[in-house]
Every structure is written in C-alpha cells, then in structure tokens.
C-alpha cells in the first residue's frame, strides 16, 4: 500500500468510527481518531497477519491496551478481512462480538481483553517473551494511551521488557494530550516522556503520529533495533480529522449526534 492508499484507508476507518459510535450513541470517538493513522499503517502495511487464519502462530500481534479505542481496531480488522464491514454497525449492541472494549475470544483478531487500563504492555511483553523462547520471528505491537501511562503497571512492564531485552516488542504512545477529565498536563503531567522511557532502557522515537512517512520509518527503525524494545512516542490530535472533535475533551467518551455525523462524514471525504 502506498501513502495515497493508506490515507484513503485511514479516512474510511475514521468514517467507520463516526458511523459506529453514532449508531449506538456511545463509545470513544476522540481517542479512536487519534489512533487511526498508526493502526492503519500496522494492519495495512507493517504487520504480517492473515485474516483468513487469525490464529496463525507466526503472525505479528497487536494489542490495543487503550481498549476504549476499540472502534479503530474493529474497523481495521473488518477492512483487513477478519469479518464483514457491515458488522461494524453492531458495535456495543446486545449479542454482538464487537464489545464496548475488545475481548479476546469474542472477535477474531483481538489478541487480548483490554479496557481496564495499564495491562496491555505486560501482555504484549509476555507474547514477545514467548516469541523469544520459541525462536519465532513474529513481532508484537502495543498501543498505550497517554493517560493510561499514569498506571503504575505500565512502568513495571517498561522495566521488565527492557530487562528481558525484548527487541521484538514495539510500543506506541498515542500522545493526544487529553484524558477523560481534561488536558493531561492539568491532571498528571507525563513529561519528560522521552527521558522517562530512555531511562527505563528503551529505544525511543518521537514522531508526528499522523505523518505516514514518519510512522513507517519509526516502525522500520524499531525492527532494526537490537537488544532493547522500542517505544514510539506518537504526537497525535484527539478527534483528528473532524474539525469540531479535534482537541475537544467532550468527544473523549461521547458520540456525535446524527447532525454532527453528517458534518463529520463530509469532512472525512464521504
């Protein structure tokens, strides 16, 4: 896939996110839209995976530790071929495998049950450790929220992943600077985030999380890094792509109305 195709796919995923959350009038559009470009690169370019054989032992894994961004993950899975795109509109509805937050075993392609924040990096670290034990060359990717980084378990996992030299593990921080209650810097300052991860023994790359070239280059750099895990600090915009959602804390956990959806979809190229 070239940059042009990635851009089109990301826009399609963003439209899905808006449609899915408005349909059920619930969910987290803001943090899903900020995560979209990275998830698009992972599923449509970087990762080795087979939607027809979701349990393939040699597949690359992706863990969405910030489980509330589930709509972005579900859309990427559907558009990769794990399940029909039409099923996306069952998000959060009774009987649907598209649970409010991802649940392993309910939907093919979901690698962990997440949503209680702080656990995904540890799970990813266990998967990477198993890869080392079995001499397999699959890679494990995990996306952590910036607000989620306030959880102590993230730093426990940062410590152990570096100690066990898990260079097959790549973490993304979706750094959109907003958490549920407001701006991160007003609630629990994360900076200096690059220095923090470096001091924990990680290779750190600081990028614009909406720039496809930078995302691709960072993933390549992570693959080429030996002896330590890589964290990609991706500076993103909450609600990216929808003018009235961008940097708007209200859309952390609130869906657009039908009228707002129409505007959003127009802005997203429909």
């Amino acid at each position: 896939m070239d940059i042009n195709q990635l851009t089109k796919t990301a826009q399609a995923i963003r439209r899905d996110i808006i449609k899915m959350t408005t349909e059920v009038n619930s969910g987290h559009p803001g943090g899903s839209l900020s995560a979209t470009d990275i998830i698009t690169v992972l599923y449509f370019m970087a990762m080795r995976h087979d939607p027809k054989n979701a349990g393939w032992p040699d597949r690359d894994r992706f863990i969405l530790s910030k489980g509330h961004a589930a709509p972005a993950l579900y859309s990427a899975l559907a558009r990769s071929g794990y399940f029909p795109v039409e099923q996306l509109l069952t998000l959060r509805k009774f009987g649907s495998p598209l649970q409010g937050h991802p649940e392993m075993g309910k939907l093919p392609g979901v690698e962990a049950s997440t949503g209680s924040l702080g656990q995904g990096l540890s799970i990813a670290s266990g998967i990477a450790l198993a890869g080392k034990l079995d001499n397999k060359d699959y890679r494990t990717y995990v996306m952590i929220g910036d607000g989620e980084s306030e959880e102590g378990q993230i730093w426990e996992a940062a410590m152990s992943s570096a100690y066990y030299r898990l260079d097959n593990l790549t973490a993304f921080i979706d750094y959109n600077s907003i958490q549920l209650d407001g701006w991160i810097r007003d609630i629990m300052e994360l900076e200096p985030i690059v220095d923090k991860w470096k001091s924990f023994g990680w290779h750190v790359i600081d990028i614009d999380g909406h720039n496809f070239n930078q995302i691709i280059k960072a993933i390549d750099e992570a693959k080429a890094t030996n002896g330590k895990p890589t964290v990609i600090v991706a500076r993103t915009i909450k609600g990216k792509g929808v003018s009235f959602m961008e940097n708007n804390v209200e859309f952390h956990g609130m869906a657009a109305t039908r009228d707002q959806m129409a505007i959003a979809l127009r802005e997203l190229g429909e």
């Binding site: 392993m104 997440t114 034990l133 378990q153």
Partner: protein, 316 residues
Amino acid sequence: MSCKRIYGMATRDAYGKALVELGRENPAIVALDADLSKSTKSVLFAKEFKDRFFNMGIAEANMVSTAAGLASCGKIPFVSSFASFLMCKTFDQLRMSVANPHLNVKLVGSHGGISIGEDGASQMAVEDIALACSLPGFVVLVPADELSTMALVKLAAQHKGPVYMRTGRPKAPVIYQQGTDFKIGRANIVREGIDVTVIANGLMVQEAVEAACACSERGIDVRVIDMHTVKPIDKDVIVQSAQTTGAIVTAEEHLLAGGLGAAVAQVVSEQCPVPMGFVGVNDTYAESGTPDELFRKYGLTADNIVRKIEEVLKRK
C-alpha cells in the same frame, strides 16, 4: 490419615518438587515469581530450567499480565508469590488479563492462611479463596499434604484454563498414602462416619480428623471430607453426605466470608438443607504469633470443630 499427627513436607515444598517434575515432562511449562522464589519454592524450577524461569521482580501485576501473554502463545505459566500478594494485589489483572479471556495460567499462592505465623497480617492471605472463587472460570484448589499437592499440581497443568492453588508455609500433617486417586472437582473422603460430616481443606483436614477421633471416643461417628477443590465444588459428595449424616460442619483456614463454608452452604441450602456449622476466621485480621497460638486464638482447632459438631447435632 491418622488420629496421631505425623508431619510431612509443607505443601509449598511439594509444589516446588512437582513443578520440577512437570518441567521435565513438558517444555511448555514456564514459571514466574516476584522475588519470593525461595519462599514459594519455585526456586527449584529456576535452578533446573534457567531459560524457562522469569523473576519479574516485586511487581505482581505485571507478572500476572505477562503470564497471560505467555499463555496466549501456548505456554503453561505457573505464577508464584505469597497468596496475599498474588491474589489481593493483582485482582484486576486476574480478572481482565486471565479470567475474561479464560487463559491457561496457573497461579500458586504460598503462605496462605494464618499459619504463616510471625510475619503478621500483611503477609497472611485470608481472602484469597474468596477472591479466586469469584473469578469466572477459575478452578480453586487447596491441597492438604505433600501427596495431594503433587497430584493436584499435575492435574492443574493438564487442566485447560485458569487455576488458583493455595499452598502453606509450615510442614503439613500427612493425610494420604501413596496410590490415592485425585481428581479436580472430586472430594476425597478421608474417614467414614454416619452421624455428622466435617468438610475441610488444607491444614484443617488434620484438625478435622483429630476432632473425629475425639468424637469417636464419645460415640459420635464423624465423616471427614477433604474438599481440596473449592471450585468447582463436589456437589455430589455434599448432597450424599447431607443425606447420610444429616449435619455438616465446615473447617477452613480462611475468612468465613466467601470461602469453603460459603461454597458448601450454597449447595446445602439449595439441594439438601441440613444444620450446618462453620469453623474459620470470623471477620477479622489475625496477628503475629506461632501458628499454634494463632490457630487456638482464631478457633482453627480440633477442639473447636468438636464444639461445632456438638452444636449442629443438637439442631439435627
């Protein structure tokens, strides 16, 4: 089973021994500990299988979720720490990383109950069984002695899904002889009797046996059951015992809330109502002391079981 107490190995020592044997049989077995391997006895595995042992440092939450990741790739992780830290510190990790996806993680909490003794309340798990039983899909095991621990550790490894096993610090009285058959979810009747049934587990099995011996001298014939699996509980033996003996006393080294007694009572009240009595720690944290002193203070003794037996017989 003997009226006279004969000490064998502590259940934590038996766990360490069984884990090494499992490691030799199955390369998928891995072990994790949180800087307590010398106490939990996972150190025995660490010595023999250096590459398959991960000391995660004093970080139990990360240890449990890491084990979940390993299990999702086909490993069979045995995760050890003190029962208090393994269950109480990591409940959310157990819930979301392990129980929700029903992953094949085996959690072994050592130093369970108040028999850890002198270290005091912070190190004593008295809530661990209740926590483990509340997790959907979990199997919960409390072995009584060396032989039953060895057998149950191996059965736990064969079982597909999450298992919590509690082991203890002090030497455990010998209950079983070689050749005894064990099955997860099926209790062992360690002494037959017709007047009343005592259902116990862990160190309380021997107390129950001694209570039965004391009752026998007074003409009361006590059946003693080792309910080593608290979940799924052996309903058949409970119903059958209620029908045969008409009264039940439970005995456990755990809070009365949410443990063995509660699990038995749920079956009894629904399927075979008979008078019941409960021996366990009654809504309090214990304190420092020798295990014997603590067992006496909190009523975890053969004498107290005898008193409960007399009480339920009056209500029969």
